[in-house]
Amino acid sequence: MSSYSYAAPTSVDEAVEVLATNAASGQRTQCLAGGTDVLVQMSSVDREPRLLVDVKHIEETNAIDIGNNEIYIGAAIPSAILNENEELKALLPGLIESADLIGSTQIQGRASIGGNLCNSSPAGDTIPALIAVGAQCVIAGPDGTREVATEDFITGVGTNCMSDSEFLLGLKIPRPGARTSDAYLRFIPRTEMDIAVAGAGVALTLDENGVCTAARVSIGAVAPTALLVQEAADALIGTNVDDVALQAAADACSAAASPISDKRGTVVYRRKVVGVLCKRAGAIARDRASA
């Protein structure tokens, strides 16, 4: 009879030690935060025994720190906590909305941005939103912590840059300045409880005249990993983010996408819709930034 083992370290050092020891022994390890992906996989597709390292009892994975220059969000913070944080919602409305799209209200009591990122699905909703706001992933490991840009964190479908002895501590996001905001939209055939067919996150800064001075555009579910689309950002920078600029950004997103046809949508469909989402998210971010 096979069985699982479980560890719940309470400090970063302890967690790193558990992970490193287990990795050295050759036993499979998986980190657990809210468990909304891991536990579902374990009860359906992948029942192999493993050590589960529960990382949500560590101070650094549970902290939110809104600094003057930087915002820190612990990897295990559940979406429900983020959704209730009015200050974060005002600063990073698109990112918080993306967290609010994951699962149902009940699921959001457990589901975390960190978990969504570590699950590394091409369709993860928070990932394009994190890329758009320029989030850095803080990774703890035997050699201390290191930081990796979100767009570089994910390396493929279901894979990321962390080794077996590392885990995600949290996310650092530059605090948005004046006339800066973001938006994230995804397309699903239903209204909730579904997986993105395509997604687009846009973060931008306007000057006093409403001219876009900085922008980041990211798209999801249309390639093996979420993509940072520089051409789409370039289409917005220097414009008033009007319909013409938004359409140019949309076309850049459609061009950058390399989707597959599957049960959730066709190549043609995803390519087109990811552009529509970029256009709509861009308009929302613009309106928020100028509000």
């Binding site: 009879m1 359906s44 055939p189 239903r190 579904d194 067919v197 049960k263 949508g265 469909y269 819709v273």
Partner: protein, 742 residues
């Protein structure tokens, strides 16, 4: 027929007898039973849509610690090699992705699952038949080399299992008289019933050859007879105890696991429990048919329909039995026609054997015809209600399937639609409105009921119809009305096959009508007995006693100085007047009244993403007499949502090899609550003269009209028609793009 004004209980909305157990989580469902020494059974399923089984070797599985039994098709009786038996466990061929190939019983579900990976099966993969077009094409592979259409072996083997035709008049002449002719070809995808509770059972075979099965089913008596047939046992050697049921909608009218579990229990001497995963439910149990329907209708300028034809082809799955009969019966039922021709084809494909789903067969064929009627109204520039009113079936119309309609409520539903505030309201800006008629003929069949009176006058109804839609509440209300006692004094129980008289399966909207009639008759039996007991007590003749408001009283004019005797009074002294009070009835109910409906919906279409937003939906339906109006409304709302889901996103997706790609609720998209508007309902009551209180079945009809209503609304919003379902965003966007580029 009781006068409506006299009714006291019927038409009220009390809480259901099974409510508290369900909302507190105490109710026992199919997977809730555990027995000492129980084993867990699991099924190995085919990874191919069509293949010959060359060999099966279970020896490595049997060698695994904890595995007690491993069986395959050859271990089952030769006699059970009929369609039902071969569907439950394959013999020489696997016929669809998920077809059961072998089974194991082990000391835990985990071990059983591990053992499946140790069963060695050698397949010779064959080309699968995956669509009606392919099945009907020349040189198509044959799902079953021995299948000849309608059993006619003088013709070559074919993938068409059955063909039927209904006709009247001369359609050529009718179309020649028409000023306008509408023709179209419509496809509806395979749809799942979407019941929440997967199939589950526990079976225990005793050494004396008597077996017991606990399971979730719509019909314990069918589980008994079908299991007995598959295992070549006497029907009476098996007892079936139905659990509470977590949804069925037709999907639990057949068996999958029960004979396998009982057989492995017999082999091991231990109880065997089997529970399907959601994936197994999708891959291996019966959804309803994907269809290809051609509808043609012609009319004069004034809207008089002169002829209509329907050619229907329904996927049966790997074994014959698509619901082409009901599909043909329903397609033109709303119309009084002199000339029509309806053809049905039951087509074999390498997919799971279809099963009933709410109004089996009617939503698909009526989708085609109600879309055609909508196009006809546009072409004639007529209001779609007026067009239907001009041609609708009514009392005295000879239905396309033969009988002459007694009073029916179609006209009343059409009139109610015109008068409804939602219909008079403007449709949403840039949106569309679609309307369609629904129909189900309803069925009666066999039912039994007992009414038992406790010493304090408490009433227990014992009947055999598993309660899938609040029927116990309806039984109690009809008993309350008949006996003249409060609803709260009555409880209804669904008995097992040993504990109650025979009832046909709950389905076809028969239960409140037929089992209800048995309950009413059993109550009348009680009343007759009570009058006798009172007469005995009072030393009167029985014809000098009346039953009024739940008590025996002397008839007016009878000179007797006695106090009325309540049911409790009579029950308390029953030992002195002849023994316990026990009423019973058994019947084969005739005259199930057809139920018509009119549905309309308002939609908006996102033309950049193809997404449809359902803004409003209204369902009007003839219930004959709504025993419990809240549950009738619930049936109407539930059916509407299931129909909308089928119209919008639900479909089985197979890859080119015939492997199902969306075997789960994530990618088989039934609507979530936030997708749906409030489903407004209005019950119309045109009493069914064949039922004491006028009941018509109401459970099937609600799913029929939403498909065409949605299609017609999207047609209205877009300005052109999309003929196929589902109207999923990729399909709609592709159609919009094609239209723009045309």
């Amino acid at each position: 027929m009781a006068e409506a004004v006299d009714l006291k209980a019927i038409g009220t909305r009390p809480i259901r007898p099974d409510g508290i157990e369900k909302v507190t989580g105490r109710a026992n469902f199919g997977a809730d039973l555990n027995l000492p020494g129980m084993l867990h059974g699991k099924i190995l399923r085919s990874p191919h849509a069509h293949a010959r089984i060359k060999s099966i070797d279970v020896s490595r599985a049997l060698a695994l610690d904890g595995v007690i039994s491993a069986v395959s098709g050859k271990d089952f009786p030769e006699k059970s090699g009929n369609d039902l038996g071969v569907n439950i466990i394959a013999r020489d061929k696997v016929l669809y992705d998920g077809h059961a190939v072998a089974a194991v019983a082990a000391t835990s579900a985990f071990v059983a699952e591990q053992a499946l990976a140790l069963i060695d099966v050698e397949y010779e993969v064959l080309e699968p038949v995956l669509s009606i077009d392919q099945a009907l094409s020349d040189n198509a592979p044959l799902v079953n080399e021995n299948n000849h259409t309608n059993g006619d072996t003088s013709k070559p083997a074919s993938n068409v299992a059955a063909y039927q035709i209904m006709s009247r008049g001369d359609v050529e002449k009718g179309f020649a008289e028409a000023d306008v002719i509408i023709e179209g070809e419509y496809r509806v995808p395979t749809a799942h019933q979407g019941y929440i509770e997967p199939h589950a059972c526990t079976a225990a075979m005793n050494e004396d050859g008597r077996g017991t099965i606990w399971c979730s089913t719509q019909g314990q008596f069918d589980v008994r007879s079908n299991t007995a047939a598959v295992l070549d046992k006497a029907v009476s050697s098996i007892r079936v105890i139905p659990s509470e049921i977590g949804g069925g909608f037709g999907g639990k009218t057949t068996i999958y696991l029960e004979p396998v579990a009982l057989h492995m229990s017999e082999l091991t001497g231990r109880p065997v429990k089997m529970v399907m995963s959601r994936e197994e439910v999708f891959r291996a149990t019966g959804p309803t048919s994907a269809t290809l329907c051609r509808a043609k209708v012609g009319a004069k300028k004034d809207g008089t329909i002169t002829a209509a034809t329907a050619w229907l082809a329904y996927e049966a799955g790997a074994f014959p039995g698509a619901p082409i009969g009901p599909g043909c019966m329903s397609v033109l039922a709303p119309y009084d026609l002199d000339n029509f021709k309806i053809e049905g084809n039951d087509v074999l494909v390498n997919k799971p054997k279809v099963c009933a789903y709410r109004a089996p067969g009617a939503p698909q064929s009526m989708h085609a015809m109600e879309c055609a009627i909508d196009e006809l109204a546009r072409e004639l520039d007529m209001d779609p209600i007026d067009l239907r009113m001009k041609n609708c079936s009514d009392e005295g119309t000879v239905a396309p399937y033969g009988p002459t309609f007694p009073p029916i409520g179609l006209k009343a539903c059409l009139e109610a639609t015109k008068a409804h505030p939602n219909y008079q309201k403007a449709k949403p800006e840039n949106g569309g409105r679609g309307i369609a008629v629904g129909f189900w003929f309803n069925i009666g069949m066999q039912s039994s009921a007992e009414v038992r009176i406790a010493e304090n006058g408490g009433v227990t109804i014992m009947e055999g119809s598993p309660d899938i839609g609040g029927s116990r509440a309806s039984m109690c209300l009809m008993a309350s009305e008949t006996l003249g006692i409060p609803y709260e004094q009555i409880n209804a129980h669904v008995g097992d096959t040993e504990g109650t008289g025979y009832c046909n399966t709950t389905g076809g909207s028969r239960t409140t009508f037929a089992t209800g009639m048995a309950v009413i008759q059993a109550c009348e039996d009680i009343i007759a007995q009570c009058k006798q007991r009172a007469a005995l007590t009072w030393d009167l003749d029985v014809d000098q006693v009346d039953w009024e408001d739940g008590q025996a009283v002397p008839k007016p004019g009878v000179n007797a100085d006695v106090s009325p005797l309540s049911l409790a009074d009579i029950a308390r002294s029953a030992g002195r007047t002849g023994g316990p009070l026990l009423g019973r009835a058994s019947l084969n109910a005739q005259g199930a009244g057809a139920s018509f409906s009119v549905n309309w919906t308002d939609v908006k279409v996102d033309k950049e993403t193809g997404r449809i937003d359902v803004k409003a939906f209204t369902a009007i339906q003839d219930a004959g007499k709504a025993i419990h109006p809240a549950y009738v409304e619930g049936q109407m709302q539930g059916g509407a949502v299931q129909g909308l889901g089928w119209a919008l996103n639900e479909e089985y997706i197979y890859n080119d090899d015939g492997i199902m790609e969306n075997a789960g609720f994530l990618d088989y998209r039934i609507p979530v609550a936030s997708d749906m508007p409030m489903i407004d309902t209005q019950i119309v009551e045109v009493p069914n003269p064949s039922h004491p209180y006028g009941v018509r079945g109401v459970g099937e009809t609600p799913i029929v009209a939403p498909l065409a209503a949605t299609s017609n609304a999207v047609r209205d919003a877009l300005g052109f028609r999309i003929y196929d379902l589902p109207l999923s965003p990729p399909r709609v966007l592709e159609a919009i793009d094609e239209q723009e580029n045309a």
